[in-house]
């Protein structure tokens, strides 16, 4: 603060004005650069997906494909079990979102409203669970699901994703519930509403944006996961798209074209959410952080 104060004694309005215009140009340049760097790997992914297999391995590299073709997209569906993967991924992601929120909303409500001994311990555990490297869990998790006879089923994925995404969802919802004025609940309860009714009819609608935000985040992180699916599934009965992606790598070649096409397909839900639910996505990614 002291520096700012000393500077204040000798203002230089003229120079500041010139810097403003040069600054604006610089800002635009930096902005353009940021956008270009963000976009170009994705453009390359897309370009690879519309090349013929011959064009992919051409030397020198044709940056713009010689001819655009949809054959890679066709082969993704005809030569690989991609439809099964898509279907599994959708079911797992949607079911996980539902299950996570059925469990997380009451839990977050309890943690923010009820005087629970050991709450600090629970918060600590939530943080630890967020920190676990999934590799450490792979083999024991496999053993757990083997014991329940759930290996290579969609349920194994839904349950493990539910557990893995719960800490973040609870953390996120906690912030939103704490913003709900307690007086509203008290009014409802003095009207004779029980705990569950208060939660369902009063609190849940008030934190709808929070639920939406954490639903979007949960969905996309589940959709994108590779390691859990790789560990817990072994057939197209339960394999998901990211696992399917690794199937384009076979012993006698990597099908870069089809793999890129599948990669583009995988990115579609992200683009949809970014376009139509931008607000929720931003909320989901930032709420916990900004509130601390």
């Amino acid at each position: 603060m002291t520096d700012a104060a000393t500077v204040a004694t000798r203002p230089r309005p003229k120079r500041r004005r010139r810097r403003f215009t040069a600054g604006t140009a610089g800002q635009y340049l930096a902005l353009a650069l940021t956008v270009a760097l963000t976009v170009f790997p994705l453009v390359w992914l897309f370009l690879t997906s519309i090349r013929s297999s011959a064009d992919i391995f051409s030397v020198p590299v044709h940056i713009i494909p010689e001819t655009a073709t949809l054959t890679q997209y066709v082969s993704v569906f005809t030569e690989y079990d991609t439809m099964d993967y898509v279907w599994n991924t959708v079911i797992v992601s949607v079911a996980t979102v539902i299950l996570v929120h059925l469990l997380a909303i009451p839990c977050a409500y309890a943690l923010s409203r009820f005087r629970m001994p050991g709450a600090m311990l629970i918060f600590g555990l939530l943080l630890i669970m967020r920190m676990i490297p999934v590799i450490a869990l792979a083999i024991p998790l496999f053993a757990v699901f083997a014991a329940f006879g759930l290996l290579d089923t969609i349920w194994a994925l839904i349950l493990s994703h539910t557990a893995a995404k719960l800490p973040v969802a609870i953390w996120l919802l906690l912030g939103f519930i704490q913003d709900v004025p307690k007086e509203i609940e008290e009014a409802a309860q003095s009207d004779g509403a029980g705990t569950v009714r208060t939660l369902v009819q009063i609190v849940a609608p008030l934190i709808a944006p929070g639920i939406g935000a954490s639903a979007v985040i949960t969905f996309l992180f589940t959709w994108n996961d590779l390691l859990l699916a790789l560990t817990l599934t072994s057939s197209k009965a339960a394999q998901t798209l990211p696992v399917g992606l690794t199937n384009f790598v076979s012993q006698f070649g990597i099908d870069w074209g089809a793999m890129s096409a599948a990669g583009v397909l995988m990115v579609i839900p992200t683009l949809v959410f970014v376009w139509f639910a931008q607000g929720l996505l931003v909320k989901g990614l930032t709420t916990g952080a900004v509130r601390g």
Partner: protein, 426 residues
């Protein structure tokens, strides 16, 4: 053993026994005349092959087979996971010589299911390296042989008046003449297991071996250092191999040739079918095969894809029947017809070589020679972990991070310690 019993043990902290018994055997829900199998796939032809094998087997025996297919790498990690959990989900596994030493105590020995004469039909090199050297237990039965020959661009070679390399020196000479304009004379893989395979072949060719008489590491001998130096120089000094090869495994090794960028490589039998197929190859009709290169000796690896019986399986008899069928004459012939997999049975191999004509016959004879002279690295306790160490040691030398001799000496010291700890010298 029931699930609850094993949990109590866990609580009693005798975790040793509990390592995997959590995966209680009551998962097995299939009917008595049904078995389950986890089988290998690779490329679009494999699923049809297994479908046919399973159908024929069921028609013949009445035993149903439920199976899942995985590519080689995911298959390997899946079998590791299943074994760690002592799972009985699958009765039968596709497996391979490479990591077999890890499963000596997990796969059920097959010795009692095969007679002496039946076993003698298979290539001895395959049976030897699928057996536990300590107990003599046969951990898996070979389904087809994996060995390599040289594949090269006959059109380009002819145009430049070159002959395929026979010796190490030839390899460099020919490679130098072919490299330029974005094209390379040769590609060898340089990452992970494929790098170790390549080093291993060169080690044997230079007259060295992995271990000495006492099973102590000997790959850091003069021959070993010469082999690794030669391998590194192909990439770093002569630059006849694409620089990215240090990150390539088999698939990219194959792709470099089939896409037309590189003019020669050493590849597995499956490459013959891949290169002949216009959907996977841009050089159909423009390539030919030659024997593997030699230095002091003409030795390279002869390993096998194999079938194993899960030690936890509750349906061993029908499972063995299926295993026997997959290595039987019908299955071996079909494999060869469908994707030119080289038979593991010497009898069938003779049969298909006799029936083959033209370039295919030449190729099969070259392969047969490789297999007859073939070797594999030792199946000592802890060697799978030594392999992990070797990947890194070889890659470090190939990328000039460490000199070949330093890298091998360091690895030899650590390898001995790993094997000692694993009980290889007990």
């Amino acid at each position: 053993m029931s699930a609850s019993l094993s949990r109590r043990k866990f609580l009693a902290a005798s975790a040793a026994v509990t390592a995997g018994s959590l995966a209680a055997p009551w998962v097995a829900r299939a009917q008595a005349n049904e078995i389950t199998a986890l089988l290998i796939t690779g490329g679009p032809l494999y699923p049809k092959y297994w479908e046919k094998i399973v159908q024929d087997f069921t028609a013949k025996t009445g035993i149903k087979v439920r199976y899942d297919l995985l590519e080689f790498t995911p298959l390997t990690s899946k079998v590791v996971t299943l074994s760690a959990a002592r799972s009985s989900q699958y009765d039968v596994y596709s497996t391979h010589t490479a990591q077999i030493d890890s499963y000596f105590n997990h796969f059920a020995p097959l010795n009692s299911y095969f007679s002496e004469s039946e076993l003698a039909e298979f290539y001895p090199v395959a049976v030897k390296y699928l057996s536990d050297p300590k107990t003599g237990n046969l951990a898996a039965i070979p389904r087809n042989m994996d060995a390599r020959v040289q594949y090269y661009r006959s059109d380009v070679y002819q145009e430049k008046g070159l002959k395929p390399a026979e010796t190490w020196e030839d390899l460099v000479d020919v490679g130098l003449k072919l490299t330029g304009n974005g094209h390379y004379g040769l590609v060898v893989p340089g990452q992970g297991d494929p790098a170790q395979r390549t080093f291993s072949d060169l080690l044997w060719q230079a007259g060295g071996d992995w271990v000495d008489q006492a099973n102590k590491p000997a790959f850091n001998s003069e021959a070993g250092i010469k082999a690794l130096t030669f391998y590194r120089d192909l990439i770093q000094k002569h630059k006849i191999v694409p620089p990215d090869a240090v990150g390539y495994q088999w698939n990219e090794n194959s792709t470099e040739l089939s896409s037309g960028t590189v003019y020669a490589n050493f590849d597995w039998p499956g490459a013959f079918a891949t290169l002949s197929n216009p959907e996977t190859s841009r050089i159909v009709g423009k390539w030919s095969t030659a024997p593997y290169i030699r230095d002091k000796a003409a030795i390279s690896c002869a390993i096998s894809h194999a079938m194993a019986l899960n030690g936890q399986s509750g349906r061993k008899e029908p499972a063995v029947e299926f295993i026997k069928y997959t290595v039987g004459p019908e299955a071996q012939r079909l494999q060869f017809e469908q994707f030119t997999n080289f038979p593991s049975s010497q009898v069938i191999a003779k049969e298909v070589i006799a029936a083959a004509k033209g370039p295919q016959a030449t190729w099969l004879q070259q392969l047969e020679t490789t297999i007859a002279n073939g070797k594999e690295w030792p199946k000592l306790a802890g060697f799978s972990k030594v392999c992990t160490l070797m990947f890194s040691a070889i890659e470090q030398a190939l990328t000039d991070q460490v000199s070949p001799s330093d890298s091998l000496n360091q690895a030899a010291t650590e390898a001995e310690e790993i094997m000692r700890r694993a009980g290889a010298y007990d």
